[in-house]
């Protein structure tokens, strides 16, 4: 009971008050300081609201275990099934990205490398297992899970990663296995996933001690669909010239659609963001001051160097107007349908970009590059994300040949700065930009 009170208070009363006080102090300390001149346009007002939303989520998470059922969930898991049961959901990938931005990954990774995990493993997995092993997190504290929920539509690593978590915490692990899609998923693939969804519900009900209310279930699906639609609209504003924000802004603003999908707070946030972006389009305000070239980014960002890289590009007038990664949450999420809950969820989550063959991936990149009028693309060959990086040499050739755009393959990692050689890497970026003349 006490735990529940702490949880509710942190989310609704104390947390918001604390954040407001912090914001007030920040503003006061910066009063009178001229805004920094840089290659970027004026910062997004919504960014403050985003910070508040995500900080509250993690603050509430500190008090979640013992108050409500807690699930740790992979980014591609059909969370619509857990929300109606009142789960607090923690996304280790989203949290690992926070650690990446905070540049604590080498330390966390060292901790698990000592336990025998290889540095060749995904840096998200190493970060998360490192947080669990050391208890170190920028969020203060992570709630212990009652359920681990994993879907193989993003990679196979998640299965072994979550198995390690299940051993550590001694809690049930549910797995949704999605067959890899060549062309389009066959009816028997969808049926196979659907059956697993139905099985999953009974486990989740047992863990949460609640039954799924069909009305609430349908309402969550409708909200998730609307959230993905809103997110897609936000991304689509960057089709304007100049784009009102940068693709790198998108990497941060995607946090709610990943971690809070299906909640009203998520949708409210994207309505706010969409308003602001449309307003910027109307005023002709760009994400960068002088947009000379428009680029597509493929794969995850390098969380530890987002700011440095975006500055490097922006200084020369290059803006990333779209990314296949942020687009992923706008593309599959809208396929869920309250009229066919299980069937549509099975279909939607099987058609995640990383679960599709190279022809489909090329199709997505080609469409993005055309829709957003890109004159170049950077394909991040991510040492940690093999499913996303495989085939990029062919993707590079095909994009270059078919669209006549310049394409750079950049070798790095999404979370481990030790796999990024800054000097040669930045040299390649400089040469790539010079080749635009």
């Amino acid at each position: 009971m006490l735990r529940r009170i702490q949880y509710e208070l942190s989310g609704h009363l104390v947390g918001p008050a604390l954040l407001r006080a912090k914001e007030w102090r920040r503003r006061r300390s910066r009063r009178g300081l001229a805004p920094k001149a840089g290659p970027f346009g004026p910062p997004l007002e919504s960014a403050r609201k985003l910070k508040e939303l995500m900080s509250l989520h993690y603050l509430q998470g500190r008090f979640a275990d013992g108050a409500v059922p807690v699930a740790w969930v992979t980014s591609g898991f059909p969370v619509e099934l857990l929300r109606p049961l009142g789960f607090f959901t923690l996304y280790p990938e989203n949290h690992a990205a926070m650690c990446g931005v905070a540049r604590t990954v080498p330390e966390l990774s060292d901790a698990v490398e000592k336990e025998g995990y290889s540095r060749d493993l995904c840096s998200y997995a190493r970060t998360d297992l490192g947080c669990v092993a050391t208890g170190k997190t920028p969020a203060g504290r992570l709630p212990k899970p009652d359920l681990l929920a994993c879907c193989t539509n993003i990679c196979q690593t998640v299965l072994y990663w979550y198995k390690a978590l299940a051993r550590r915490f001694g809690v049930p692990l549910v797995l949704i296995d999605t067959p890899f899609v060549y062309g389009e998923a066959k009816p028997h693939h969808v049926a196979y996933v659907r059956e697993q969804l139905e099985e999953l519900v009974s486990v989740a009900e047992r863990v949460s001690g609640r039954r799924v209310d069909p009305q609430e279930f349908v309402a969550v699906i409708a909200r998730a669909k609307e959230g993905s639609r809103l997110w897609g609209e936000c991304l689509a504003t960057a089709r304007s010239r100049p784009a009102p924000w940068t693709g790198f802004d998108g990497f941060f603003h995607m946090a709610p659609i990943v971690a809070l999908r299906g909640s009203e707070a998520c949708n409210a946030y994207y309505r706010l963001l969409l308003d602001e972006l449309r307003d910027r389009v109307a005023r002709g305000t760009g994400g960068i001051r002088e947009e000379r070239h428009r680029l597509l980014w493929d794969n995850l960002p390098m969380w530890f160097a987002v700011r440095e890289l975006s500055t490097l590009f922006a200084e020369q007038g290059f803006n990333f107007v779209c990314t296949s990664y942020t687009n992923a949450w706008a593309e599959a999420g809208v396929l869920v349908d309250p009229a066919d809950p299980y069937g549509s969820i099975a279909r939607a989550y099987t058609h995640i970009i990383l679960n599709q063959d190279l022809t489909n991936r090329l199709g997505i990149l080609r469409r993005l590059a055309r829709d957003y009028a890109c004159d170049g693309a950077v394909l991040h060959s991510d040492r940690s994300c093999k499913p996303y990086s495989i085939g990029q040499v062919d993707l590079k050739d095909r994009l270059g040949e078919e669209l006549g755009i310049r394409v750079l393959l950049l070798e790095a990692d999404h979370n481990d700065p030790r796999a990024w050689a800054a000097e040669p890497g930045e040299n390649r970026i400089a040469a790539f930009m010079e080749s635009f003349g």
């Binding site: 040669p424 040299n427 400089a430 080749s435």
Partner: protein, 251 residues
């Protein structure tokens, strides 16, 4: 002397090169030295020498890893400069392989000499001039004897590793096993060429050019030609191509 139109400097990882070009873009003065850790001092000295030699105070273009340490009116990457320099000398499109000390670059040149695409060796120095330098040094083979040794070699001894560190120990065990030195040297060239060939992926009907310090090694040029299955044309004064491109960028 009527004075130069521009100076170019290529502060590379192994050598520092500087050239002066006239109005027609022809090299009229040149300097080449092993790279000093004090890049800025070395660069200003070489440029001052060229200024004295050709007269005047022409603008300076800089490239190479040390380019940011050089006082220059324009700073460009080696990729852009090698492309520009090679095209100025050759006047036709093709695939340019620049093998330098620290990296190997494969640059696709368009009809007007523009960079259409490029690829480079991954983060390590395998497949670069440094690889040969380290291992030939270990075998006590002086540079001017390399080509002769490779010519004399019967068969190439297979060297499987292209990691500079591992190849060094592999080569030592080959020597210990009594393999002929010439064969090992030939094998090293073949290993390196196959690595570059994988990077190059040459489309049919494309002419191949080579620049950079390694192009002065005829054994490497023929190993590349063999690995890629076609003739490789060495750009005149291959070591100076980057510096020439830098000069032309400000001329």
């Amino acid at each position: 002397m009527s004075g130069a139109a521009a100076l170019g400097i290529d502060a590379g990882s192994t050598t520092c090169k500087a050239v002066a070009v006239d109005e027609a873009g022809k090299i009229v003065g040149r300097r080449l030295e092993p790279a000093s850790p004090r890049i800025d001092e070395q660069a200003s000295r070489l440029l001052a020498e060229l200024r004295t030699e050709v007269g005047g105070d022409p603008p300076v273009g800089a490239t190479g890893y040390g380019r940011k340490r050089v006082a220059a009116s324009r700073v460009l990457t080696e990729i852009t400069c090698h492309a520009r320099g090679a095209f100025a000398l050759l006047g036709r499109p093709g695939l340019l392989i620049d093998m330098g000390g620290q990296d190997t670059k494969v640059i696709r040149l368009g009809k007007g000499g523009e960079v259409l695409d490029f690829s480079m060796n991954d983060k390590c120095a395998a497949g670069t001039g440094r690889f040969l330098e380290v291992i030939l040094g270990r075998l006590h083979v002086p540079f001017d004897e390399v080509a002769g040794q490779v010519r004399r070699a019967g068969r190439a001894v297979s060297v499987s590793s292209t990691c500079t560190v591992f190849a060094e120990s592999e080569v030592i065990s080959l020597v210990a096993r009594g393999e002929p030195l010439e064969g090992i040297v030939k094998g090293l060239h073949a290993a390196l060429a196959s690595r570059v060939a994988a990077l190059a992926r040459v489309p049919d009907g494309t002419e191949l050019f080579m620049s950079g310090g390694v192009a002065l090694n005829p054994a490497m040029v023929s190993a590349l030609a063999e690995a890629l299955g076609r003739e490789v044309h060495v750009v005149p004064e291959p070591q100076l191509v980057g510096a020439l491109g830098a000069a032309l960028a400000v001329a």
